[in-house]
Symmetry: C2
Subunit: 409 residues, 2 copies
């Protein structure tokens, strides 16, 4: 079994064929969850799975499971998968790679006539991106017990259409319950969406966990004032204070190198007039760290810095935590299966912590889970220019194949 290898060209061709569905002018893909494009992508995937001899089931959240039966159908399946939906201006690899690499594993085992002890399943999780329906990763979240199915089915897009209605419209509202069945091990192959592997010239990242993420909404309140007549020392400039807070977020995250992350991504200036000192600023903070204690400390330090800046600037500040996704540590046995497979294949690799959320975050709550990263050019993702090397795609799929075989027996 150690000698089996995926067919890299076939996998690449499948990725490029899928990328034609919802293709965008700059080379990317737009397949928003439960759109017509998503339906077309699902239809293609289901057809390919059936052609590969798999049985296909769909659960009430629209999650698709393609099963290649094992010698012992009573064993929990070894599962892999990711998602087929994309950002509005997404790339050809984010999510899709993990689904089609799973299909390639099945095709490869078919070619070689290999029978596994446990069944192999390939999952396509619904609405991972969260770009159309919040929250992100919501259907794997139901599988993992983080959300109720009814809650997710009731979510609305900006046009007021519900997840449930759109799922039924595209014909993917299955009858099977979501979750509640055992999985032997879950693996997910994904592009890194960051620059580390590329910078270190490594084809494989052994993902040991996912950073904890906390989101905050911050409001700084000062006083509107004329930019001309108001002396500098009499101002209560909310933007000046917010600017210093942006610097503080960066400084505090850097103080917890290399894993600390701090980002201000959104900002609203009120009244946003060229010759008015802004009286109110709203901005977001995104803090991340793979260790809860460090994330707690990072939050404390940011809060303390904000308070000091507000005091000196004669403004007030409110910082509300609106989301807390705890750090995830993947399963030791599953991680070792990935690491050993990469080593056996002779692929250079390093352990890496995922900075982004993935379906694996929630699946890891109900199954031993690990992930495999491959580099993407410039670390670019959620962008039409997102791209990966065919060689890395093939290497990542080989690691997935070997890790699944190691666990499926």
């Amino acid at each position: 079994m150690r000698n089996h290898r995926v067919n890299g060209e076939r996998l690449w061709a499948s990725l490029m064929a899928m990328a034609k569905i919802g293709a965008l002018p700059k080379g990317g893909c737009g397949r928003l969850a439960l759109s017509d494009e998503d339906k077309a992508g699902r239809d293609l995937f289901v057809r390919w799975c059936r052609e590969a001899g798999c049985s296909v089931r769909v659960d009430v959240l629209g999650n698709i499971f393609a099963r290649r039966e094992g010698r012992d159908p009573s064993l929990p399946p070894v599962m892999t998968g990711s998602h087929l939906d994309t950002q509005p201006h997404g790339g050809k690899f984010d999510g899709v790679l993990g689904v089609l690499a799973g299909l390639e594993v099945v095709r490869c085992l078919n070619d070689a006539g290999v029978e596994t002890e446990a069944a192999i399943e390939v999952a396509a999780w619904t609405n991972e991106e969260g770009a159309r329906f919040a929250p992100a990763m919501c259907a794997s979240g139901v599988f993992g017990g983080a959300f109720d199915a009814a809650y997710v089915l009731a979510q609305k897009d900006l046009a007021g259409k519900t997840f449930g209605a759109e799922l039924a419209r595209i014909g993917y509202a299955g009858a099977e319950p979501c979750g509640g069945r055992p999985i032997g091990t879950f693996f997910e192959l994904h592009i890194e969406q960051g620059p580390i592997l590329e910078a270190e010239n490594l084809p494989i990242g052994v993902v040991t966990g996912v950073q904890g993420v906390r989101w905050y909404d911050v409001t700084v309140s000062g006083q509107d004032a004329h930019a001309g007549p108001t002396p500098m020392e009499m101002r209560r400039d909310a933007l000046l204070a917010a600017a210093k807070m942006v610097s503080a977020v960066n400084r505090e995250a850097r103080a917890r190198a290399p894993h600390g992350r701090g980002t201000v991504g959104q900002m609203l200036i009120i009244p946003n007039s060229r010759n008015t000192v802004p009286g109110e600023i709203k901005f977001t903070v995104d803090l991340r760290h793979p260790e809860k204690a460090q994330l707690d400390a990072l939050e404390d330090d940011v809060r303390r810095a904000f308070g000091e800046i507000a005091g000196k600037g004669c403004v007030s500040v409110e910082m509300a935590r609106i989301w807390d996704s705890p750090p995830v540590s993947f399963d030791g046995v599953a991680i070792e299966a990935v690491r050993a497979s990469a080593s056996a294949l002779g692929y250079a690799h390093r352990d890496i912590v995922s900075g982004a959320g993935h379906d694996s975050v929630y699946i890891s709550r109900v199954a031993p889970t690990a992930m495999i990263f491959i580099p993407c050019k410039g670390g670019l993702s959620h962008n039409e220019e997102e791209t990966a090397e065919p060689a890395h795609v093939e290497q990542g799929a080989n690691v997935l194949l070997q890790a699944m075989l190691a666990r499926a027996g």
Copy 2:
């Protein structure tokens, strides 16, 4: 003549009567230039002027001149005035005070039977605010030779209506040329629109000039990146750099205390997504100083600081100057007339530089000019809550009366 005093109650009553035209729910006024409300305000002013025995002329820009003839009609008139138009949510004093205080001077001279050597004129300049038609102060600008009449008449509001057509519609397109005639001295009474006089508990500001103002559009270009996977040291965070630039603008303006001003009032974050390191920021800078050399140096220092911040942050920066309004120094004799009048009246006063533009900026190009400021509560203006004390209104008008008498003989 030194004993003449305005009738403060009459002036206040006139201000409150005018404020009923275009009155807004929170106590402010909405009389956008050349609107029906502006016409009603003009009609009331013209009626009051005629009742006070003035001749009234209107020029091609709609500027209104009410004249109280002097003993020697061949002398250039001593003129005062300001504007009757307001911001969309403006106050009851900005501009209106300067026009109605001029009318009160005429009424007071009538009451006392005083005949002046030179004629007294009260001007109401069209569209000072610039809120409906850009640029601001455009009709006094034509009078002062800064703009062509045809240019201003062709300006359009957001609905596409031209200044000229709207001026004709409300019946204020006069036949008289705009400007080109001598003015002995021009005085303008105005609320400070800043907090200095209130903070120092002074009723009168002797305005010696107007700050130079320069406006800039700044673009900072970095690179979008995922907030999670992207290590802090690999980021090209445009918002972080822009935040440091906001601090630098403040620092450099403070380095030129007390007159330097630096404000960032508008900012646009691209793509403005909570979990994306922003790749591009656009923001405005407003720099002011009463001395050109200092304003030049302030701009140089800000440019240098921006360059250093961009270099350290691995981003690029472009800073384009889009407007340059040079500093204005008012006429020494006119300033002294204001200062001496305030002193003779026993009113505490200080010299002050206007941070905001006024019609006097352009009139000073063709006539000896000075301004008188009175405090406004909290320095608040361009706001429905803008307010001034009746006592200060009366004191300001008395200074105007005495200064005009000193110059009109």
